[in-house]
């Protein structure tokens, strides 16, 4: 993916993130999951294309796993009040 395509993808994903902000409350847990997936996708684009980690496979993989685990932890913390 070229830098320009990465930028366009980031703009689209940011637009979707803003659209999620106005979603109905009863979709909360589902939308929170979507939101965290959007953060992951945007984070990967910035890391891989802007910061150039796509040229450094091990670093790319380490950052991707750390980001995924961090966001999974955030989702668990978000869900906790709903399942208590």
């Amino acid at each position: 993916m070229t830098l320009t395509r990465a930028w366009i993808a980031l703009i689209i994903l940011s637009g979707v993130t803003s659209a999620v902000a106005f979603s109905p409350n009863w979709w909360g847990p589902f939308m929170a999951g979507v939101l965290l997936l959007l953060i992951y996708a945007k984070g990967r684009l910035v890391l891989d294309r802007y910061l150039g980690l796509s040229r450094a496979r091990r670093w790319q993989s380490s950052f991707a796993w750390t980001l995924a685990l961090f966001l999974a932890g955030c989702y668990a913390l978000y869900l906790m009040p709903l399942i208590r």
Partner: protein, 184 residues
């Protein structure tokens, strides 16, 4: 090229010290986000009500400003590497202008909160809001100074490190914008 500068083969471009800085900053902001979510456990409704007083549209515009600014900075690095210094400078200036736009919107947002009597002591949510967004804004200011220095020197080797810092500022906003403004 210094001893700490990472090789291009299989490793990210830029100085190792810059990557240590980037990882440290991400850990600090990540810890802030986790703490916010932990404190939220005791009062999710209160946090949602406090969050509803934020300007989500303004924050979304700010996300687009920073993403575009990061893109222009990355293009500047490409131009500088190709020896096109004037184009590189132009892109760095445009990136800095968008950064100033980000701070201007952030200033309006803070002024609006102050006008409504909202401070860090109003609710625990606002303590995290001001702490995380304020700390991030301080990084934007530092990034702007770096961008202007890069514009002056226009050395591709130095640009790699400075622009990596600017992308880190971008990445932090990608993380904190949805959690603070949208997740409810």
């Amino acid at each position: 090229m210094t001893d700490t500068r990472l090789a291009k083969e299989g490793k990210p471009e830029g100085d190792l010290l810059v990557w240590i800085l980037i990882i440290s900053e991400l850990v600090v902001f990540g810890a802030g986000i986790v703490l916010l979510l932990i404190i939220r456990l005791s009062d999710p409704q209160g946090f949602a009500a406090a969050q509803d007083q934020l300007d989500r549209v303004g924050a979304g515009i700010n996300a687009i400003l920073l993403i575009t600014s990061g893109y222009l900075a990355a293009r500047a690095l490409q131009f500088a590497s190709d020896g096109l210094r004037s184009k590189a400078r132009l892109h760095l200036i445009a990136a800095a202008v968008l950064g100033v736009g980000f701070l201007w919107l952030k200033g309006l947002e803070y002024a609006d909160k102050a006008a409504h009597g909202i401070s860090a002591e109003t609710h625990p949510f606002f303590m995290f809001y001001f702490l995380l967004t304020g700390f991030h804004a301080a990084h934007v200011v530092a990034g702007l100074v770096i961008l202007l220095l890069l514009c002056w020197r226009c050395d591709p080797d130095q640009m790699e490190d400075g622009i990596a810092f600017w992308h880190m500022v971008d990445l932090v906003w990608v993380l904190i914008f949805p959690v603070i403004y949208v997740l409810r």
